[in-house]
């Protein structure tokens, strides 16, 4: 390309085509050229960050829910601590973790998991608490043990509320995972956004990464809504 020979307009976004040099609204050729080595890997990484955080968060929140189910005193302190964690702005939490765990996958995961806890714990416990007591009594009356009531009656009935929590947690994590790049962690869809900001607000890169992040979040939300409908056909999937 002889664009390099021509007097380049500043800022030159490392680019060749006139669209890129003029910072046009959306340069398709630039985007498709970067899809394979930038956007697709970033998208996959983002999905990995999200899946791991949701899996760990679900395991912790589920364990805490079972504890709280057995002992009422567990609930309030868990809600308090996870509430405080949830309130900390993500950029601040990532930044505070960096001196301790470095610019690593672990740092991102610690922060992301901590944001899932309040949402998941609250939805899980609400789901269990909303099981009608007649149903519980009936199951006990039929001779089921406490453990059987929990696994065969209460948890299945709580499933819609639990999946609703998973949906909220998942889109939240997808959103917050983009922020990790701003503190210099090279993971996920935030990386091209940060790159575009530093490169003089390169529009194509901003739009591409932004739209991919929105699409990922909405896609994940719809997918989980589908799961919710399939797993709990008796409950009209009400989003809450």
């Amino acid at each position: 390309m002889n664009a390099l020979i021509a007097a380049t307009v500043v800022p030159n976004f490392g680019g060749a085509s006139s669209c890129v040099r003029d910072n046009g609204t959306f340069c398709w050729s630039w985007f498709s050229g970067r899809w394979g080595n930038t956007f697709w890997p970033a998208l996959r990484q983002h999905l990995l960050l999200t899946t791991v955080a949701i899996a760990i968060g679900t395991a912790i929140a589920f364990g805490l829910t079972l504890l709280a189910h057995r002992d009422r005193r567990v609930g309030p302190p868990v809600t308090f601590v996870s509430g405080v964690l949830y309130t900390i702005p993500s950029l601040a939490l990532f930044q505070i973790l960096v001196p301790i765990t470095g610019l690593t996958f672990l740092t991102v995961e610690i922060a992301l998991v901590s944001y899932t806890l309040l949402i998941l714990f609250r939805n899980f416990t609400t789901g269990l608490a909303e099981v009608p007591s007649e149903v519980r009594e009936a199951a006990r009356g039929m001779g089921l043990t406490r453990r059987q009531v929990l696994w065969r009656v209460e948890l299945p009935l709580a499933l819609p509320a639990m999946i609703a929590g998973l949906r909220i947690a998942t889109v939240t994590v997808i959103s917050l995972a983009t922020v990790a790049a701003l503190v210099g962690i090279n993971q996920g869809l935030g990386v091209p956004i940060f790159d575009a900001i530093q490169g003089g607000a390169f529009k194509t890169e901003l739009f591409a990464a932004g739209i991919l992040a929105v699409a990922l979040a909405i896609g994940a939300d719809l997918l989980l809504l589908g799961v919710q409908r399939v797993l709990t056909p008796w409950a009209k999937a009400r989003s809450r």
Binding site: Y86, A92, I96, R122, T178, L182, I197, G210
Partner: protein
Amino acid sequence: MSDIGHAFTFIGDNLDLLRRDTLTHLSIAGIATLISLVLAVPLGVWLGHLRRGSFLAINISNIGRALPSLAVLSIALPFVGVGRSTVIIALVVLAVPPMLTNAYVAIAGVDPDAVEAAKGMGMRPREVLARVELPLALPLIFAGIRTATVYVIATATLGGFFGGGGLGDIIADQATYRIQGVLAAAIWVALLAILAEVLLAGIQRLLTPRGLRGAPEVGPATAF
């Protein structure tokens, strides 16, 4: 860990800077919150009063919840350019859904018996709204405002990377403030968000009629 110690030294040495940036931060968040409030709450209350538009109210919140804040900022940037307006517009986009949905759910969820009784007493629709529905719905409407406000204060931090100013400015500028300054601002903004949450939770409690207190608390994660 000594970085964190230095961060506290930085806070002690730069209280003026932090105070100034906190004011900017809160004014950005305040403007965005006020604009969202004016746009969202009357609409939500009106739709809730008519018991209409539940599809709109619920779906706006579902889509709004799925919008990554940084993505909204980065999509707004090419349209509006680097600066405070971009940040405020993005914050409004993010704050409207929880406010609208909570206002709708709050009003539409008022006990129908209370509404019927008010009608039976001869109240006109406007009186029913003003004297029955609004007072009963106020705590839940405010819960939406609280969720959105804390979210806006937290997200305004990202504005530092988009020329918005405020405490994010320090976090975005490690070249000037070095790691201790960046960490100090991070700790500061975390405390600010927690303080705002505690304060607003207190106000919400005061707005809740005494008889309803002790009912399951409506907090940040329920609506959002």
